[in-house]
Every structure is written in C-alpha cells, then in structure tokens.
C-alpha cells in the first residue's frame, strides 16, 4: 500500500495544479466583489469550447488556443457581470450568488444550443505515459502542470508588480480606504471579472485537454474548485493554490483507504475541517 503513495502524490499534484487556475479566478472575484460567483462553472466551459474552436477549426496549437480560451471566457465574464450580476449586487451577496447560479445555467444552455450535448475532443496527438520504475507521468499532464505554474506565476507577478494589481489588492483588503485613495472600484471590478473568468476559461480548457469536453465540463469541476478556494481561504489567492493542492492530493491519497466512489467526500471533509478549525481558511482571507 505504501508503494502506491508516490504515484498518488504525483496524480494529486497534477490534479491540484489544474484546479488551482480556476480556483484563483473564483477567489480573486470573491476578494474584490465579495460574493462567490458560481457562474465560474459555465465560464470554464466557455473557455474550453473557445479553445476547442481555436484548436480544431482555426488550427491553433495548445498555447495560442489557451489565450483564446482566456480572452473569450474573460470577455463573456466581463459582459455578464456588467449586465447581469452588477444589478444584483445592491441586493446583497446571497442574491448575487443565487443570480450567478441562474447565470451559469443560462450560459451553459447557450453552449448547448451552439455545440450540442455531445462530447468533443481536442485535435491533439495521444501520447503514452513516461515510466520511471513503478511511476508513470503523462506528457500532457506535465504540459498542463507547466502551463498552470506559468499562469500562476503571471497572476502573482501581476498582483505584485503592476499598478492595477496593487490597486486590486487594495480594494480587496479595504474597499473604503481604496476609495479614499482614489482607486476606481468599478474599473477594478471589471478587471477582476475579466481576469477571473479568463482564468476559469483556461482551467476549463486544461481539464478538457486531459479529457473531452461537453456543456457540463465546468459544472463537473465546480465542486472541487469551490472546495479548493474555501479550504485555502476564500479571498486569498495563494490560499487558492494551497487549497487546490490540498484537495487534489487529499482526494488521491484517500484512495489508500476509501473506495474511489467516495473521492468527493474528501473535498467536503476538507471544507468541514477547515471551517471548524480555521474558519478563515488555511491562509486566511487576505488577498495576497
């Protein structure tokens, strides 16, 4: 049984790294706009399909297709927030969160209307896994891991070194103070909606690269993404990464003593444990 641990750890890190990208989007939106935007699920799907069109129709390779996924999902996120969710915000965060559930169902059905219900696959060569003794690692997974790491590095650099990134952190930490300092909260909200949903789109495509995509692609991943963000500390961007790795590795290691049919219970258990022991999440709720 112990010999299985290294392989499970590798699988968990790979799965966690992919989860981390949309989890950063979810937590960044929460940090600035102060509501859990469940429409992230459909934006992940939209990104997956945008990347699919770029890859299969326009012949783009993975990285340019990921840019398309980011841009299209980000743009839809910006517009849907501006025209659908923004009017909800004055009614409180619960109303806005419920509005985002309605939005995600509507967008999911738009995707269904355009692309149908069937599965679609990216036009990528299938490669056998590399083997190192008893361990196996997939080339596609390594590529996905590398892309996730680069995306995370770009997000952190953006937050640390750019004026807009610093303004975002300021709004997330103390909206009133940021307002006094003359930071335009509405502009920051638009940027975070665009970037957050763009990241969801990238996450959706990364999931799709490893599997196939259909209109429920984002919805299937949503529970794990939400668990990752809550466990890490909803609103904390490094927390989203830590949470995603915790959930990813936790789910895999649970297979040592649980049937695979109970894998999702780990996500819920992690949320329960963290909320009991550390209600603000592993890294608290500071954005950065």
């Amino acid at each position: 049984m112990l010999s299985e641990i290294p392989q499970l750890l590798i699988n968990g890190i790979m799965a966690g790294a992919i989860l981390a990208v949309p989890a950063i989007g979810l937590t960044a939106i929460y940090a600035v706009l102060r509501f859990p935007n469940f429409s992230l699920a459909s934006h992940a799907t939209i990104g997956a399909f945008a990347g699919y069109v770029a890859n299969t129709q326009l012949g783009f390779s993975v990285v340019p297709a990921l840019f398309c996924a980011f841009l299209v999902a980000g743009l839809v996120g910006l517009l849907s927030d501006e025209f659908v969710l923004k009017p909800f915000r004055s009614a409180g965060f619960i109303t806005t969160a419920i509005g985002s559930i309605a939005l995600t169902i509507a967008l999911e059905n738009v995707v269904r209307f355009i692309f149908g219900n069937s599965l679609n696959g990216y036009d990528l060569p299938m490669q056998r896994d590399w083997r190192f003794g008893d361990l196996r690692i997939g080339p596609q997974q390594v590529e996905n891991l590398a892309i996730s790491v680069v995306v995370m590095a770009v997000v952190f650099a953006f937050l640390s070194f750019t004026r807009t990134g610093k303004a975002m952190r300021a709004v997330a930490d103390n909206p009133s103070l940021a307002d006094i300092k003359g930071i335009d909260a509405a502009r920051i909200a638009r940027i975070v909606s665009f970037a957050g949903m763009g990241l969801a789109g990238v996450g959706g495509m990364l999931i799709g690269l490893d599997t196939s995509i259909d209109p429920l692609t984002g919805f299937r991943a949503m529970l794990s993404v939400f668990a990752a963000a809550v466990v890490g500390g909803l609103g904390s961007i490094p927390g989203a990464v830590v949470g995603a790795l915790t959930v990813g590795i936790g789910e895999e290691l649970s297979l040592l003593f649980l049937s695979p049919s109970y894998r999702s219970v780990i996500g819920f258990l992690a949320i329960l444990l963290v909320l009991i022991l550390r209600p603000r999440g592993i890294l608290g709720q500071r954005a950065y």
């Binding site: 896994d129 599997t211 429920l216 695979p260």
Partner: protein, 403 residues
C-alpha cells in the same frame, strides 16, 4: 304552501342532474358491449428524455392496431387507443395513468420507458387491476409487489450482465477487471459478471466503483492495472467512459475493453483518437433480427426497426392475443392468460393477425416476437433476449454478431 311550490322543480332538477351524471356511465357500459370499439391505453414518453423513443413506440403500436382492425378487429370489435404522454416524468405519468384508468377505463397501459416512471405508475396499475407493459430495465421494477399485473420486454440487469460475461469469456479473456460508475446497476452487474465468468473458466480479478463527474481517473486505472487483467469492462456512461479509455491508453493498456453501446457512441468515437478506441467491444440488447416477426414489423413500419419499436410491436400483439385467448378485456384476464399465448407448446406465431386467426380456429399458440421469444418468468421478466455485439476498428464500428 308558498314554500312547497319550488319543490317539484328542484326534484326535477335533481333527477335531471342525476340522469346527466349517469349518462356517461350508461354510455360507457354500452361502449363495452359487442360492436363498440375496444379501448386500450398507451402511455409513452412523447416529451422529455424519452421523447425520441416514445413517439416511435406509439406508431409501432398503432400500426399493429390498424392491421388487427383491417383483419376484422378483436372479439369482433375495433381496437381504439387512448394515448397519453408520460413526459418522462413520474408525477406527470401518474396523472396520465389515472386518467387512462379512471376516465378511459382501459384494461392495459402499454409503454412506460424510464424506470422512475414505471416505478411510479406500477402501483397505480396493480391497485386498479390494470395490466402494464414496459421497457424499463432496472431489476427493481419486476421485484415490486405487482401481483402479476406487469411484464417487461427489456432484459433486466441480471440477464444483461450474464450475457456480457458469456461474451467476454468467449473472447478468450481469462482475467477481467470491472470498472463501474456508482449507480444502481453497478453492484448487481459486478456480482453477476463474477458468477458467470467463474462458470466459464475465467475470473474477475477485481472490480471498483468510481464516482461520476471527476475530471481524472488515473488512480482508478492504476488500481485496475495492478491486477494485470486481459480485458477491462467499463460499465459507465459516455463522459466517464471516454476519460477511462484515454487513461487506459496512456497507461499502456493494450488489451480489449468492453462497454455498453450507449457509452461508446458514434459521437464518442469522433471525439477520441483512433488508437484510444481500437479493440473496444460494445454490446446492446437487440431485436431478434432474423425472426419473421421482425421482418413483419419492418414491412409494417416501412423503416428500420429498433429495439424499442420491436418491443412496442410485441406489447400490442401480446395484449390482443391474450384478450382473444381469454375472451375478456380486463387487466385480471390479461394477467391470467398472457403466458398461455406467449410461451408453451402451441403453434409458433409471429404476428397478432396470424395468432388471432389460429385462436379463432381453436388452436393453441406461442407468440414469438420481434424483440425476442417473449417468454416471461413469474415476476414478468423475459427469459431470454438477443444482444448485438460490435468491435471498434480504425475509429469505426464493425458488426460482430447478434446472439
């Protein structure tokens, strides 16, 4: 005295009202007399998830009804159908069934499709002694206390899993691993496959249940491959089975895989690289395509006949023949007599009209249907059924056999 004046008109009104209320009952009673149409109930999904199969099942039954009417009807009466939409929804289906039973007074309801719908409609039927024919496959359906008022022409899970294991053993696989999506059919399938493989000299080296809606099943695949199987049975739906097929390819598994045809579809083949789906066997319940009954159904409908149309053809044929045999159109008579014409030593017949003619001559018959032999166990399951097997080669299905 002033107060008594309106009494008579009130009595008259009461009498008139009672007469009006009684009129439909009188006409219904008259409607069941010789010469009046014989009304049978159809409850198929015309909308909802079953909206693809329901209308075609309805047409198949109507076509047989027309054929019987053209040949002189049933017990000297024309067959007439009372049709309702079950909406693939238990709540809507129960309302529709109540209407068929209480208003249309049908002795039989033919056509429920989804297991959840059948589970909801069945109690309404057996409580009102109405016969029910269904296509729902869950084992639990025929285990309901239906007192014999239910038959189904779809193979149940037990029968399907047994046939799957026989085919798998026939491929020469000695060590088989079963990966099942967590669902009501998962454990019964695993148990039956284990049992039949052991009888056939093969072995189920292991099995696992996996969760739906996961984005990766790498660790599950590792678990399966540790038992070094010759063949892996993937018992799930398209979204998870396609992920498993990819993972098995990446992990270097070269052996054949076996799956239900509803999980490895044409669209699934399009979405997966060819090398991933190579040597995947698929299976589905099949009509008895070589039988004269199937040929007759094809001619009657003027198109290809699928398993659901074939089963619908058999329901109305069985019901008509049973009513003719018992000379009584009630649910209880259907319950008592259906096996007298569906199985046994009588002359084999392949259409309702042919059977009605022989029954009219006082002969015993055994109806052999378009979907299969239509022999029923005590609880209403079919005893046997054919299955269609295919294999994927170069990204396309190649027909293997119907057996």
């Amino acid at each position: 005295m002033t107060g008594s004046t309106p009494l008579l008109p009130r009595r008259t009104a009461l009498l008139a009202g009672m007469t009006a209320l009684a009129a439909p009952a009188v006409s219904r009673a008259q409607g069941t007399s010789a010469g009046a149409p014989l009304r049978l109930g159809i409850l198929t999904p015309l909308t909802g998830a079953g909206g693809f199969d329901g209308p075609r099942m309805l047409k198949a039954m109507q076509a047989v009804g027309e054929e019987i009417n053209a040949a002189g009807g049933l017990l000297g009466r024309r067959i007439e159908f009372a049709v309702e939409d079950d909406q693939t929804n238990p709540e809507g289906a129960v309302r529709a069934a109540r209407k068929l039973i209480d208003v249309d007074k049908v002795p039989v309801i033919m056509g429920t499709w989804a297991s959840a719908v059948t589970a909801a409609v069945a109690p309404v039927c057996w409580e009102s002694k109405t016969f029910l024919t269904t296509v729902s496959g869950a084992d639990s359906i025929t285990q309901l206390p239906h007192q014999g008022y239910l038959i189904r022409t779809q193979p149940n899970n037990h029968l399907q899993a047994g046939k799957h294991a026989e085919f798998i053993a026939g491929t020469g696989a000695k060590k088989v691993f079963v990966m099942s999506l967590q669902s009501p059919f998962a454990m019964p399938t695993q148990n039956r496959v284990r049992e039949v493989l052991a009888q056939k000299g093969a072995q189920m080296t292991g099995a696992l249940l996996y969760e739906k809606d996961k984005t990766s099943y790498r660790s599950e695949v590792d678990q399966a491959l540790r038992t070094r199987p010759d063949l892996i049975y993937l018992n799930g739906y398209t979204p998870d089975v396609t992920i498993l097929l990819r993972e098995l390819y990446r992990a270097g598994f070269e052996g054949p895989r076996f799956a239900q045809s509803y999980s490895v579809t044409d669209k699934a083949l399009e979405s997966l690289p060819r090398e991933v789906t190579e040597k995947v066997y698929t299976v589905q319940p099949s009509s008895d395509v070589d039988s004269p009954a199937f040929e007759a159904a094809k001619k009657r409908l003027g198109t290809g006949v699928d398993s659901y149309e074939a089963q619908a053809t058999d329901w109305i044929s069985l019901v008509a023949l049973t009513i003719a045999k018992g000379r009584e159109a009630t649910g209880t008579a259907l319950r008592e007599n259906v096996r007298k014409i569906a199985q046994g030593e009588g002359t084999k017949v392949y259409t309702a009209v042919e059977g009605l003619r022989l029954l009219g001559e006082g002969k015993e018959i055994n109806y052999e249907g378009a979907s299969g032999p239509c022999d029923f166990t005590e609880i209403g399951d079919i005893v046997d059924c054919k299955f269609r097997y295919q294999i994927v080669e170069n990204g396309a299905f190649r027909f293997l056999k119907v057996a």
